[in-house]
Subunit: 395 residues, 2 copies
């Protein structure tokens, strides 16, 4: 019994896995289908048809039975050959995953690392690419989950285009939460996962790959990869009807089908606006509590808000007290940020009262740990944002 309180409700407030809409949960309990029978083929085709809208692309979105990191690996495996110089931009744990992938695939790594919590500077990227004109591929992050920062992918893509460099972006936690116009901005590859703003369980990795990137990968010769080889999956998905080169995760496809339908019903614009409002209210709540946001100021940090914990309390205890005493599962900091930050998620199936719940729990937890916090101050500030927005907080 991990929880000794007399209260029975608990709240998943993490940045991934994120909470699931009931319809998404329920569809997974339905009888499983065979992926090569008509119902399974149609399910797969429908998911593939629905995906590009979320990426704002005309690309085929390649679907893998994997975590989001698998989709990221597909980008490195297909775009980098041993000895190839490539630019890796990293300002947090998931940016560093690009670097680790580049090392595994033998890239000649050019690293741009302004530090955790910093925002990638397109001017710096421009300078590095100018100094190393042999670089043909760059890797960056949309929403850096470890710090809450949303990088300016539009500006980075402009720089990459100027240098005729292919840009691959990790949007695992950002897609559907922060604006990303893949085609309009000219982003060649977007890697994503099912368990964030797509409101599904983890287990589906997605790579939206431009024809230019597919062609480049093909010209560079076969990748040392089979499961994550783009050519194999693209060829199978482009059949009529599309087929999967490997057994797809059919229960997760059923979940994603429902979730994409929910996103289409809400409308992507509205989904993004909801995330922006939730994030704005969260930031106001943090300031209302007298706390600071972590890292560079970021008015687009729509997936997760990272909060500097006050000095003088044991920061590592904050997620623990939230969970054990208040039933709220939230993310603390990772690696060097452990004990220094708390992250309040608002990615996917989140509403206004989830933010207020997180802020309430945080207020009580901080007091519990000895910080001077006016109870209700953060919640009140967030409510004011919702009131000022003048929109209904219900569908």
């Amino acid at each position: 019994m991990p929880d000794a309180t007399p209260f029975i409700k608990s709240y998943l407030m993490t940045a991934g896995p994120t909470p699931l809409p009931p319809r998404v949960s329920q569809v997974m309990a339905e009888p499983i289908v065979y992926h090569r029978a008509p119902a399974g083929v149609e399910l797969y085709a429908r998911v593939l048809r629905r995906l590009p809208a979320v990426f704002q692309t005309a690309n085929d979105v390649l679907l893998f039975s994997s975590s989001g990191s698998g989709a990221m690996e597909s980008a490195v495996a297909n775009l980098v050959r041993p000895g190839d110089p490539a630019l890796f931009c990293a300002a947090g744990k998931f940016g560093e995953r690009w670097i680790e992938l580049g090392e595994a695939y033998g890239a000649d790594l050019v690293r741009y690392e302004p530090g955790w919590g910093r925002r990638l500077d397109p001017g710096e990227i421009d300078r590095v690419l100018g100094e190393r004109p042999e670089i043909r591929v760059a890797f960056a992050t949309l929403s850096e989950t470890s710090t809450g920062i949303v990088h300016d992918v539009q500006a980075i893509a402009e720089v990459a285009a100027r240098h005729d460099v292919l840009l691959a972006v990790d949007a695992v936690s950002g897609l559907g939460a922060a604006e990303l116009r893949q085609d309009a901005w000219g982003v060649d590859v977007v890697a994503a996962g099912s368990q964030k703003a797509l409101m599904c369980p983890p287990g589906i990795g997605l790579a939206s790959v431009s024809q230019r990137a597919l062609d480049y990968a093909g010209q560079r010769g076969p990748a040392t990869a089979y499961y994550f080889d783009w050519g194999r999956t693209a060829k199978a998905q482009r059949k009529d009807p599309p087929s999967s080169p490997f057994t797809p995760p059919v229960t997760l496809l059923a979940a994603l089908d429902v979730a994409l339908e929910l996103i289409a019903e809400e409308g992507l614009e509205q989904v993004l606006a909801r995330h922006a409002l939730l994030a704005r209210a969260t930031r106001a709540g943090v300031h209302g509590l007298g706390l600071e946001l972590f890292g560079d100021p970021d008015d687009r940090a729509n997936a997760v808000t990272a909060i500097e914990l006050p000095e003088g309390i044991d920061g590592a205890k904050v997620p623990k007290v939230l969970r054990d005493k208040y039933g709220i599962t939230a993310n603390g900091g990772q690696n060097q940020l452990k004990g220094r930050i708390l992250r309040i998620a608002h990615t996917g199936y989140f509403g206004a009262f989830d933010i207020l719940t997180s802020l309430s729990g945080l207020e009580m937890t901080l007091r519990e740990l000895g910080a001077e916090v006016e109870q209700g101050a953060g919640v009140g500030a967030a409510q004011q944002v919702f009131l000022d927005a003048g929109v209904p907080l219900a569908a």
Copy 2:
């Protein structure tokens, strides 16, 4: 509306995805857990504790968010470096997957291919390994789903041991259906998937890797793989408590946890005996119908039974009529066996009446397509096997 019959029930009788026990289906509809919170950590640890019993091993079983092919790729990626000679044994579609993986990773391929439907001959493997003493790794298949044949992995492992060769076996469709005593037989690597006899949806790939194989992979230097790198996953799983290097597919972990509990409750011996009885009854049913089994005689083909379809009918129509007219989704032949065979599955959550249903449907379908088939003859022969077994057909 794909089905215009007035009947509403349908039957999933494929070799993967296989039918799910209701408890497995239902658990996926429960609230999703965060993998780093206590409930998620305990779920992951419990699944890892339960897995080795099914492999009959003391190894750590490495768990990937992937299809079974991902687990197979992990074996090739970790054991083969470019230019390494390695033996690939293939007698069907999934044996050929090993070859494709070997090509992707630049192996110097030594191929032993007796033909689809043939059983791998340990004597031939002995001869090849004797001729090429520089070979250190061999790849083979337990149950070849495309042909129904179960290869003699015990004898192959003895041969491999004699030549001091590491043996990796694809048991994706065989594990839990056909006997495989990994440690007793000395099999270094067993690759498996969640969607066969493990009675779960697809999306979890498993690699049970001996310390000898882990050490060999480590000595050969870093693999050109990150997601499927054994060292990374083994290190994370060996922490206390175990952790996953990437977000694990938590709803599928919950399903696998329940399924492994069901297998433990039934007892692995009993699970294997049930599969053997179902397979024996199926073979008797086929002979009762006056049909022949496909390929080499195989009294261990406990995962799926491949049937030669009679001359003079359009064999490709058999699975179609079964599905459209009788609501039974079964597998026809793949690649060169298309239209030549039908495969009756008995892998995982299958009981006696599933076999009788498949045989009934087949009898009616064959008559429908113009074959002379005595209605009830196959069903009756199968029933006789169940009667003769003298065991209850219920739990």
